[in-house]
């Protein structure tokens, strides 16, 4: 993929060539072509492994919490959605901004390999994107599909690309009856294996010590019997990141059980927008978030009682 009509790799090479930074945080090819992973490159020759294609969904911002604290300036490649996380982390003083060279790169949506497979395409060797179409090389020959159909969940309603209604699914759940909602989440959350992947990937979860790992927090104990008890974990997590979540969608992307966790965060964002005015966490690196500010005439909590939505 390109930025300003230049391949991103070229931009990376230029950073080293012009000594703009000592290290680059980007992606490198994994074991398979579809499991690219975040990597730090410290020299030009290491960039052979550098990759930027339709499988670079992972948000690099969080890695800066550790990497930016190390010696030497680091360049980071930020997709539009990652930029929000970066700003939010700078705002919360989690990243030493002075030591980082943020490079904004374009993105036209990342592909979910499972969705390609779900189309019945097997023996995939490689995938290349050509505009809206994907060309898929398989052991059975070349196949094609529309990129739009196989985008990552978070990319389908990307606020920077399509402008699609990212709250549509949230609204659907809101309109369910209370029991239906309960059953929906019960069935979703009962799948949770409490692997902590959602927390570990979340750019808003960079605490020195997570409350879930802290015996003294009183909420560290893992769920025991009723699987819906897991929901407390997700509720607490959603509340912890409320007002700070940039809606990057990483939680859903990494969930091995395919739980649509981002819907919980989106519900929070939707409420914050409706109650306290539009707010995009990470739109800048200095504004005060909606849960650390207030207005004298804020809505009363009973708005939840009086509002529409299923009962």
């Amino acid at each position: 993929m390109q930025t300003n009509n230049r391949p991103v790799k070229e931009i990376a090479q230029e950073i080293f060539a012009e000594n703009q930074a000592e290290r680059i945080l980007g992606w490198k090819r994994g074991e398979f072509f579809y499991d690219n992973s975040p990597a730090v490159f410290s020299a030009a020759d290491e960039l052979q492994e550098f990759v930027y294609d339709a499988f670079c969904g992972s948000n690099l911002s969080k890695f800066l919490v550790k990497e930016a604290a190390k010696e030497g300036r680091i360049a980071v490649l930020l997709k539009p959605c990652d930029r929000y996380s970066f700003n939010q982390l700078v705002k919360e003083h989690r990243i030493d901004k002075e030591n980082v060279l943020p490079i904004e790169i374009d993105c036209d949506g990342m592909v979910d390999i499972d969705k390609v497979r779900a189309l019945g395409i097997k023996g995939i060797k490689s995938i290349s994107a050509d505009g809206d179409q994907l060309t898929i090389e398989t052991v059975y020959g070349q196949k094609n599909c529309s990129k739009e159909d196989v985008l990552l969940l978070k990319c389908q309603t990307c606020k920077d690309r399509t402008g699609g209604d990212r709250f549509a699914l949230v609204r659907e759940i809101e309109e369910m009856s209370s029991v239906e909602r309960y059953e929906f989440w019960r069935s979703e959350l009962s799948k949770c294996i409490r692997c902590n992947a959602c927390r570990n990937v979340c750019p808003a979860c960079t605490c020195e010590k997570c409350v879930f790992d802290n015996d003294k927090s009183g909420i560290a104990n893992k769920a025991n019997s009723d699987s819906f008890e897991e929901s407390l974990y997700h509720m607490i997590r959603a509340f912890h990141v409320a007002g700070r979540c940039t809606d990057c969608g990483e939680c859903s992307r990494v969930c091995p059980q395919g739980i649509p966790l981002h819907l919980i965060n989106r519900k929070v964002i939707k409420d914050l927008n409706e109650f306290y005015g539009e707010y995009q966490a990470g739109a800048d690196d200095s504004s005060v978030g909606p849960l650390t500010s207030y207005e004298l005439d804020d809505v009363e909590p009973d708005i939840v009682m009086n509002r529409g939505g299923g009962r």
Binding site: Y294, D298, E300, P301, V304
Partner: protein, 150 residues
Amino acid sequence: MSIEKKEFKPLIVAFCCNWCSYAGADLAGTSRLAYPAEIKIIRVPCSCRVNPMFVLRAFQRGADGVIIAGCHPGDCHYTSGNYFARRRMTMLFSMLDFFGIERERTRVDWVSAAEGVKFSTVMNDFSKKIHELGENRRLGDLRCKQTIDR
């Protein structure tokens, strides 16, 4: 002490701010304005001290309803505490509702130190709602309830 749990006896936790609502509860007491014994009050300095985790904890441990009472907006002893509490609790309640927890199980009300009558009315009203809803099955952690009971 063992209590036969044949008829539904709800358990309601009330967080009251020290300056207004706790004093309002005191006034309800001095005025002998009854409200059900199932309501147990926890004193906190300010409604803004109530962490949503405490509310979830109460539900997890078997509470059937949680109510937070603070100074009226504009009257907070700490000037702004209840405004923060108002936002947090609005968000928490909405989230609970989103998960399918009956929204009537949570409530915030503003009760001043002078409103003994209001305190009692609010508590009676809240308890009535919880009685109507019955036991909080959706969010209670059954395990905790059974093992710790003695």
